[in-house]
């Protein structure tokens, strides 16, 4: 264990602390099952140093609404696409607000997404008072080709980095990033091949991020011992990278199968 004290519940809310899905022996790797919106206020206080979030896209279903921060699919009758756009935005605002409350004043958040969600996310961040620090382009050298031949080949994901507020003194390990880039300032375009095969051996997740990408994010904006949180665990890459880099980790997901996948990967470390 490095640096700080173990993760512990907030004094004033210990009574309603939800049962963890998993806690490691050293207490530095914890998984919660549930909605980030519900779980976050009970566990994290304003103590989180770094958040990485890869929110769901809700691509498959046009008929979607947002009820108290949760996405619900609805009967298509009388529904339309624009209402789904509004629902997506309401959802993004809700979980982002919960994340903002969990961040410490100098904490930062990273959010990845494609064009379907990232504009709602970025604008919601501005609406909520986050300060956008960088918009990183994750460029995939080997993107799937565009079969329809009606678009430029979609070869990027956007990753937004933001501080809790304008006044935040955000953490940025400039020298490390510079050293990792041949003693030149690291730019906002990052090339990483999408994970395949070996990295996905424990199970599949549609938007799994390469560990090298998560490692860069965590190293750039946190120190050993810091608390890292992922409100949409998915395949669990954030927790793996955080653990390897000696950060403490809390993961949240609504789906038990993803938590189990993340746990399996953690235990294989």
């Amino acid at each position: 264990m490095v640096g700080k004290a173990k993760i512990s519940p907030r004094e004033d809310s210990a009574a309603e602390l939800p049962a963890a899905h998993f806690i490691s022996d050293d207490g530095n790797f914890i998984l919660y099952k549930g909605d980030a919106l519900e779980v976050l206020p009970k566990i994290a206080g304003a103590s989180v140093d770094l958040i990485f979030a890869d929110p769901p896209y809700f691509l498959s279903n046009d008929g979607v609404t947002c009820q108290s921060g949760r996405m619900v699919s609805v009967n298509k009758g009388g529904w339309d696409r624009l209402k789904s756009v509004a629902a997506m935005h309401e959802f993004n605002r809700a979980w982002l607000a919960a994340c903002r409350a969990a961040l410490n004043p100098n904490g930062t958040i990273w959010v990845s997404g494609t064009r379907h969600v990232i504009y709602s996310v970025g604008f919601a961040m501005q609406e909520l008072g986050f300060k956008l620090l960088n918009d990183i382009t994750w460029e995939k050298p080997n993107p799937p080709p565009n079969l329809s031949c009606r678009y430029f080949t979609h070869s990027t994901e956007t990753i937004l980095w933001a501080a809790r507020e304008t006044k935040s003194k955000h953490k940025f390990n400039y020298k490390l990033m510079r050293a990792n880039n041949g003693d030149r300032q690291m730019k906002s375009v990052w090339q990483f091949t999408a994970p395949s095969g070996v990295e996905k051996q424990h199970g599949a997740h549609p938007t799994q991020k390469p560990l090298a990408l998560l490692s860069r994010i965590i190293e750039a904006s946190s120190d050993a011992g810091d608390l890292v949180l992922d409100p949409f665990v998915g395949s669990g890459s954030t927790g793996i990278a955080a653990t390897r880099l000696k950060r403490r980790f809390i993961g949240i997901d609504t789906a038990a199968e993803f938590l189990d996948l993340a746990l399996t990967r953690y235990q294989a470390e």
Copy 2:
């Protein structure tokens, strides 16, 4: 003159047609002075094939509001940043809606911007019913370095490409793009050096785009004779590229000095 008829005012609104700042002899290059929001409904009907827009950022002033689609700086008393975020979004929605009305059903629009505005723009597009086709990353190999050493070097601008609506059959000159990319599908990351020196000989504009960038955009998504519109003319690069590629052009700007700069560049062709 190529292909179609000359640009002419809409039959039903000719009476209120504003006086053009400039019309070329062949009628294929027209500049209007004024607010895009006011000028667009009077001139274009639903006849525009392609729009390129580089909207203002309103960076310099925190105290900014939006009155009937126009940005107005306000006394800072009682003002706050979040209201400026809302005002920026209102402004973007207003001019984007006017652009959407001017587009023909299969027309497309390109909008460039940095993180300060592009999330509001992209989300407004979704709200208005545009269909996001591509999010292009314009990567600058020669970005200004980050002096504060607290960020990754901002080295991109985002350029959104969208169709008027989901049902649009948008134009994409796939084969030409493929041929221009060594017979490989062209991807959504484009490298162009930012214009400097020679290209800026006729005057300065803070966000001048390289002609090669505008040329790619116009060639990708329009044909000779098509009508191209730029609601924020700035240094006028869109009109130059459009003219060289035999497209018709309408430019709008509130600032006479930018229109004159664009005109000087046009006449130097």
